[in-house]
């Protein structure tokens, strides 16, 4: 047949993955993959901003070094038999003071750092400094209470993600790997008296329920997304299915 009659694949816009969106957009030149030497991974790191970061990091480094130095100092004195209770107290106070000082300096430097960065990140140099950004804050603690009614030992483990906070929770029936084992139902109720309005997971284990490990997902009722898991382990000898 004629080559003109053959159906061919279409031409494509690209034929390789984009491995780095930031370089694609910013066209940062690539370097060799060999590790950067002490002269610097990135020469732009010596800017004023870089200096601030460097000071901040160096301070953290100093904190570590100081702790180590104190520990070594104490160990040396102990090995020399030169310690007395009074000096212990003095050293401990000294250590505490140093820690406090370093922590304080660290915070100060850090604030300077984030203010500068905020300005750099949000626009031209003459822009108003951005409000200091804070380090990522830990997710709000999520409390659940577990009420278990069982005539034999049972271990309950509950894991929740931060997304569970404030969500109306539903727990899927707990299943064992062995399909013949009956499921365990978990009821969820909001208890006003519980701290932070924590949900109460209520599990009732029938006396004749087979031993084993039962697992189920905790789901946000509104979004139907899993936000946690419950695992109940019932002690006892495994039995053959009937």
């Amino acid at each position: 047949m004629s080559t003109n009659e053959r159906i061919k694949r279409p031409s494509l816009d690209r034929t390789a993955p984009v491995r780095n969106w930031s370089t694609l957009l910013n066209a940062v030149p690539s370097g060799d993959a060999a590790p950067a030497g002490e002269a610097g991974t990135n020469s732009r790191g010596t800017s004023g901003l870089g200096d601030a970061i460097a000071r901040s990091v160096a301070l953290g480094y100093q904190v570590v070094e100081e702790y180590v130095r104190q520990g070594e100092h104490a160990a040396r004195r102990m090995s020399e038999g030169a310690y007395r209770t009074e000096s212990v107290t003095a050293d401990a106070q000294d250590l505490a003071q140093r820690m406090g000082r370093y922590a304080s300096e660290l915070v100060g430097t850090w604030l300077e750092l984030v203010q500068r960065t905020g300005a750099a990140a949000t626009g031209p140099r003459h822009a108003e400094p951005a409000a200091p950004r804070t380090a990522p804050t830990p997710a709000r603690a999520i409390g659940v209470a577990v009420a278990i009614r069982s005539s034999r030992p049972a271990e309950v483990a509950v894991e929740l993600t931060p997304e569970a906070a404030g969500a109306r929770l539903v727990v899927h029936a707990l299943r064992a790997c062995e399909a013949w084992k009956p499921r365990l139902d978990v009821e969820v109720e909001a208890r006003a008296a519980a701290p932070d309005g924590a949900a109460v997971l209520s599990v009732r284990i029938p006396d004749d329920h087979p031993p084993g490990t039962y697992e189920g997902l905790i789901v946000d009722e509104a979004t139907n997304r899993p936000v946690g898991a419950v695992r109940v382990t019932l002690a006892g000898a495994e039995t053959r299915p009937t």
Binding site: G40, T89, A103, P241
Partner: protein, 708 residues
């Protein structure tokens, strides 16, 4: 593409994950029947390396151990769409698994188990919608540093518990006691200081697009050195602390390496370190030798079959591929980190896909063995006759009675499934094939009843080559002979044989002394270093008297070069695996199941459940009972696992490569972004192959293709 009113005929050769994904994409309703797809398949079943079968009593017999990971976005997406078309709930087909377990030997030679649970993450794998996610190297550094900080807090807490117990009461009795308290306090403070430093590091990396890498590396070096010095004495005596420390050490090495190697701004992403072996790269970046040799890393190597030539003394995997895989596995999973199938891979994945594809009009030509891909024309712009596939040559292994389509599925416990052997009744001369033991899946059994050549223009327009890389040298002689890129690819993208066995047990593993819930375990004793409790599958089988336990073992099979006298290779290798498995049970089973050994130290073969057919022939005793279980030697070239050896990524060819204007390729061996042997790589590759033909799906919609 030239406009054509008639449907475009696409021949897909190979019905594994990549091939069926390409078929699924090309037959989406949105294409309005534009592509007329035929899948050509060796033997009687789809699945490739993921094929499974139902044997006696509906036993599920797998190629190996298949566990889907929570970051398999594309694989889950395709399967969820498939299930939706069948009006089935995909969540019923999978069980989320949150625990990973590895083992390592203690100083007394005993195997210690270490389990880690991973919390559920937002969403489910394969969720569609939301903003496009383009994780960057920087994101991963932040994730790792946050993880390290959390682990460090564990260490501090653990060290604190160990130290504080005798010293919390009253005033120090002596100077020495007080001094000891101070030293411990200093140690804890140091660890706390390091944690604080890590928090700072995390914020610095998160907040700045530009930072002095050298200083950060120095800081990390100091933090690690100090922490290691402080913890050294305690690490020996506290296994849990040691393991946490090893993870911290490895994680910090990755952070240090990503900074030192300038990966944040490298357009090649993790490919920039593809030439390094992962362990070598971690050592280069300060990881301790003990961490690199830890059960944790061995476990990850075991899960990835990352042993060159199947030699446990040669763990090798590209640092770039490994790092990409680790980071995606631990930080981007959704729902659960692992998802176990409720059924064989054939039942859960390939049977539903087969049903949907049949409904959409895809034709399946079973019993077709590819012999050659004939190419013509020359490559290069402006060439009058561009390089293309002019014919696909097949051996026809069997004809179907009355010219009907072969119906490949059986039903077990109400579930459509693939049988472990063909339905000979549907085959012309089927009785003879059975009598003569034709092995339709063996590379070395070349018997056929006819040959068939598909010619471009007459029988197909476009071709998708979706066979395993191990088979390419045998079925693409033209391509490999004329094209240096193909030659280099088959030379450098290497594979390894694997083996597996499955035990059906008459006793629960808990009664044999296994102390934990059913889990997947890796890093255990060679030559079967990975095992999984699969008892959840038993109700899906159809034993008259069901066994109580079911355990799978698998690993790489050392390549001993013993492939001479082709015809007998499968039998020889099968016997080798049987002997290895029996020896393994005798030597190693006691570490998992102490009560599986009798007083004389022999494995209790009577624990194995035997099928009725075996009992009818005289219930075998002793070691002979193992013969009633299932085992496999995956030595066929197309069955071999695709490795990601250091420096091999650059030899992979992309499904998007347009050297041959009517051919694309698909498989986990292609340049598909992930570049390692797994379901997700194969599925991404299949989607890329579809894109090469139909410009759909959009590359931006193939999750994880654009990734560092």
């Amino acid at each position: 593409m030239e406009q054509s009113e008639r449907p475009i005929r696409v021949a897909i050769v190979g019905g594994g994950c990549a091939g069926v994904t390409a078929a699924f994409e090309l037959t989406r309703p949105e294409h309005r029947g534009r592509y007329e797809v035929t899948v050509y398949q060796l033997g009687w079943r789809l699945g490739g390396k993921g094929a499974s079968g139902r044997g006696v009593h509906g036993r599920i017999e797998e190629h190996g151990l298949h566990v889907w990971m929570g970051w398999y976005e594309n694989a889950f997406q395709i399967l969820r769409e498939c299930y939706r078309e069948l009006d089935r709930d995909f969540l019923q087909a999978f069980i989320p698994a949150t625990t990973i377990a590895v083992t390592e030997r203690d100083t007394r030679g005993q195997w210690e188990l270490w389990m880690r649970s991973f919390p559920p993450m937002e969403g489910l794998p394969g969720d569609i919608g939301g903003a496009a996610r383009h994780p960057t190297v920087r994101d991963y550094i932040v994730h790792v540093v946050a993880l390290v900080r959390t682990l460090f807090a564990d260490v501090v807490s653990r060290a604190g518990e160990a130290l504080s117990a005798p010293r919390v009461t009253g005033v120090p009795e002596s100077a020495a006691e007080a001094l000891a308290a101070l030293v411990h306090y200093g140690e804890l403070a140091t660890l706390a200081g390091i944690t604080q430093g890590l928090a700072l590091l995390e914020v610095v990396i998160t907040s700045f697009t530009d930072y002095p890498g050298t200083i950060l590396v120095r800081f990390l070096d100091a933090a690690v050195a100090n922490a290691r010095r402080l913890l050294e004495s305690r690490l020996e005596n506290d296994p849990e602390l040691r393991r946490i420390w090893q993870v911290i050490d490895l994680a910090l090495a990755t952070v240090r390496g990503q900074i030192r190697f300038g990966l944040v701004n490298d357009p090649r992403g993790f490919d920039a370190i593809d030439d390094y072996d992962c362990r070598e790269w971690l050592l280069l970046n300060g990881a301790a030798a003990s961490s690199v040799d830890s059960g944790y890393l061995r476990g990850l190597y075991g899960l990835g079959f990352a042993y060159e030539d199947g030699d446990f003394q040669r763990p090798r995997v590209s640092a770039g591929v490994a790092l990409r895989g680790f980071l995606r596995a631990f930080f981007t999973y959704r729902g659960a980190i692992f998802w176990k199938m409720r059924g064989g891979m054939g039942d859960v994945v390939f049977a539903p896909l087969y049903e949907v594809l049949r409904r959409r009009g895809v034709r399946f030509a079973f019993f077709h063995r590819l012999r050659n891909v004939r190419v013509a024309g020359v490559s290069g712009p402006g060439a009058p006759d561009a390089a293309h596939v002019e014919a696909l040559d097949f051996d026809v292994q069997a004809e179907i009675r009355d010219g009907q389509p072969y119906e490949p599925l059986v039903t077990v416990q109400g579930m459509p499934a693939w049988p472990s052997c063909p339905d000979y009744h549907q085959l012309v001369d089927g009785d003879r094939f059975r009598h003569e033991s034709w092995d339709f899946e063996s590379h070395w059994d070349e018997r056929c009843v006819a040959t068939r050549s598909l010619r471009v223009g007459d029988d197909f327009d476009l071709a998708v080559l979706a066979v395993g890389i191990g088979a390419i040298p045998y079925v693409c002689r033209d391509l490999v002979g004329r094209d240096p890129r193909w030659r280099e690819m088959v030379d450098h993208v290497r594979t390894v044989a694997t083996h597996a066995f499955q035990l059906w047990l008459r006793t629960a593993t808990s009664d044999l002394g296994w102390p934990e819930p059913p889990i997947t375990l890796s890093g255990f004793a060679p030559p079967f270093d990975t095992c999984a409790d699969m008892r959840h599958l038993l109700p899906l089988e159809s034993w008259p008297s069901p066994p109580i336990g079911l355990v799978y073992f698998c690993s790489v099979l050392p390549d001993d070069g013993d492939y001479a006298e082709g015809g007998s290779v499968p039998a020889r290798k099968r016997e080798l695996v049987r002997a290895l498995a029996v020896d393994f049970l005798r030597r190693q089973a006691k570490h998992l199941w102490p009560r599986a050994i009798d007083e004389s130290g022999e494995f209790r073969w009577d624990l194995l459940a035997t099928p009725v057919a075996a009992i009818g022939a005289g219930d075998p005793a002793g070691e002979g009972r193992f013969a009633t279980q299932f085992w496999t030697a995956n030595v066929n070239p197309s069955d071999r696992y695709t490795l990601a050896l250091p420096g091999s990524s650059k030899y992979r060819i992309s499904p998007l490569d347009a050297t041959y204007d009517n051919l694309t390729i698909a498989g986990d061996w292609t340049e598909c972004g992930v570049n390692t042997g797994c379901v997700e790589a194969a599925v991404i590759s299949g989607r890329l192959a579809a894109h090469a033909i139909a410009r759909a799906p959009r590359l931006e919609d193939i999750m994880g293709y654009d990734h560092p």
